[in-house]
């Protein structure tokens, strides 16, 4: 069965620090990978997605992730975080035989000004 695991539950960084959030997954079919973000008081929105093509995926607000190959982590990166990046981040994969999206436990990022 597909699964997603995010090991960093709570990350605290200072502004301008580099960010890398881990996402491990198991996936049985064609690889499709998603990162979502939830800013305080807002709805979940797509940060970036990978489904084919260039393995380096660039998302909104300077975030990126690289698909190396199946079963390797799909980590979210940003070279220099800002206070406005304070949010909760979720990694997700679709179930291979249904339309479900399976989410990781989430990582709360707190950026100190």
């Amino acid at each position: 069965a597909q699964s997603v695991s995010q090991h960093n539950h709570h990350v605290i960084l200072s502004e301008a620090a580099s960010l890398e959030l881990g996402c491990n997954y198991s996936y049985g079919g064609t690889v499709n990978l998603f990162w979502y973000v939830q800013y305080p008081g807002q709805h979940l929105q797509l940060l970036l997605k990978y489904f084919s093509g260039d393995p380096l995926v660039k998302g909104i607000k300077g975030f990126e992730a690289e698909f190396i190959k199946s079963k390797f982590p799909f980590n979210l990166r940003k070279p220099s975080v800002q206070w406005s990046d304070t949010a909760e981040y979720f990694c997700a994969v679709p179930s291979s035989n249904t339309g479900k999206l399976i989410f990781g436990q989430g990582t709360t990022l707190q950026v100190k000004p």
């Binding site: 995010q6 539950h9 079919g29 064609t30 499709n32 998603f34 807002q42 709805h43 979940l44 929105q45 797509l46 997605k49 489904f51 084919s52 979720f90 997700a92 679709p94 291979s96 249904t98 339309g99 479900k100 999206l101 399976i102 989410f103 990781g104 436990q105 989430g106």
Partner: protein, 113 residues
């Protein structure tokens, strides 16, 4: 612009009440989902629907039921609300294609007293 609209942002209900949470999407998506979001547990799937009148249990369906009489509307029902159902409830919709993202509503913060 895709919209997923949940009928209430905040609800307070009494133990034992029957509670209805409504969700409407305007993009003709086949799949609709109800998730529950709790700190440290991420998003857990309660139920999802892949077509009108079709539904499938998610990871935590106990105490919940759903209804999808029209393609655009997906309702979550708490048959007899209990305090352990106090949570944030998120509705989402998505097409059947594996490489497409889900779109989320603003969430309903339900408190059962």
């Amino acid at each position: 612009d895709v919209k997923v609209t949940q009928s209430s942002r905040y609800l307070v209900k009494r133990t034992g009440e029957k509670v209805f949470l409504e969700c409407v999407q305007d993009m003709d998506h086949e799949n609709m989902f109800w998730y529950r979001q709790d700190p440290g547990l991420g998003l857990r799937l309660i139920y999802f629907s892949y077509d009108v009148k079709m539904k499938e249990k998610g990871d935590i369906p106990e105490g919940y039921s759903v209804s999808r009489e029209k393609k655009e509307r997906f309702s979550l029902i708490l048959e007899s609300a209990s305090t352990n159902q106090t949570s944030m409830y998120l509705c989402a919709s998505r097409t059947r294609q594996a490489n497409t993202e889900a779109f989320f509503g603003q969430g309903t913060r339900l408190t059962v007293v």
